[in-house]
Symmetry: C2
């Protein structure tokens, strides 16, 4: 029950809105911002992944700390895919803007998955972490396949 409440609370926190592409002075800033936030997130995600896949020993505190960072960063990139940010130093596919509802759904789904991994990390149980991490990894891949150039 505590786990379920924790998951719900995490999912609700995802609705934190950081809106408006107008926050960026130039399209290049938006592109840099989304790439930078995704890179930093990926670095922390990889550390959790190494534990979830048994490549490094499980350290509950490390997993929790890294997932806290991932949770914050997972909210950020999406506001930086505004109109006019499809050209330049980016691997973003045109589908992001052509199928913007589908893209938003994928971004939302990812944040929910991250919230579940974060909740699992908080339990301090490696099996919980493995299960949640696998599911979230599929969400990353699905979005990259649909919306990112190779």
């Amino acid at each position: 029950m505590k786990m379920i409440l924790s998951l719900l609370s995490a999912a609700m926190a995802v609705t934190l809105a950081l809106p408006a592409q107008a926050q960026f002075a130039k399209p290049e800033d938006a592109i840099k911002y989304r790439k930078n936030s995704l890179f930093v997130m990926q670095q922390h995600w990889a550390r959790v992944g190494a534990m979830a896949t048994g490549k490094i020993p499980f350290d509950a505190k490390q997993a929790q700390d890294n997932m806290e960072v991932v949770s914050t960063l997972a909210k950020l990139p999406w506001a930086a895919f505004g109109e006019g940010t499809d050209k330049g130093d980016t691997r973003a596919k045109p589908e992001i803007w052509k199928e913007s509802v589908k893209f938003k759904e994928a971004a939302d789904k990812f944040q929910i998955e991250v919230a579940k991994v974060n909740a699992a990390a908080k339990t301090g149980n490696l099996d919980n972490l493995k299960t949640a991490f696998g599911s979230a990894g599929s969400s990353c891949k699905a979005c990259h396949d649909s919306f990112r150039k190779d």
Copy 2:
């Protein structure tokens, strides 16, 4: 190819097991990580600054949300200034490693200042935010002057 990937993955696993600055597979990754996390932090910091300096209207919720992001990101860059990360695509001055105690003190001071701005943002009072922001801004500048090339 599969063998190479497997070896790489094993090498990464070893690296990941090491603490702090050794978390990065390559020095370039550490440099990219610290630059990326500083850039994302700066974007959110600038939004709070625009409110603190009256350039945009004060929005208490926006200030709080942005300061939450800044607080998380303010902890990150410092672990990426490890040995061997002084060369490459970086404006880091040699003083970071020559005067590492002073650099650590500056990084710690900055995080304390950020925590104060975060607390001020939570009060929802613009005057509190202005006071805390000004003090933290001096901390940014002092560190850039001492440890970053122009």
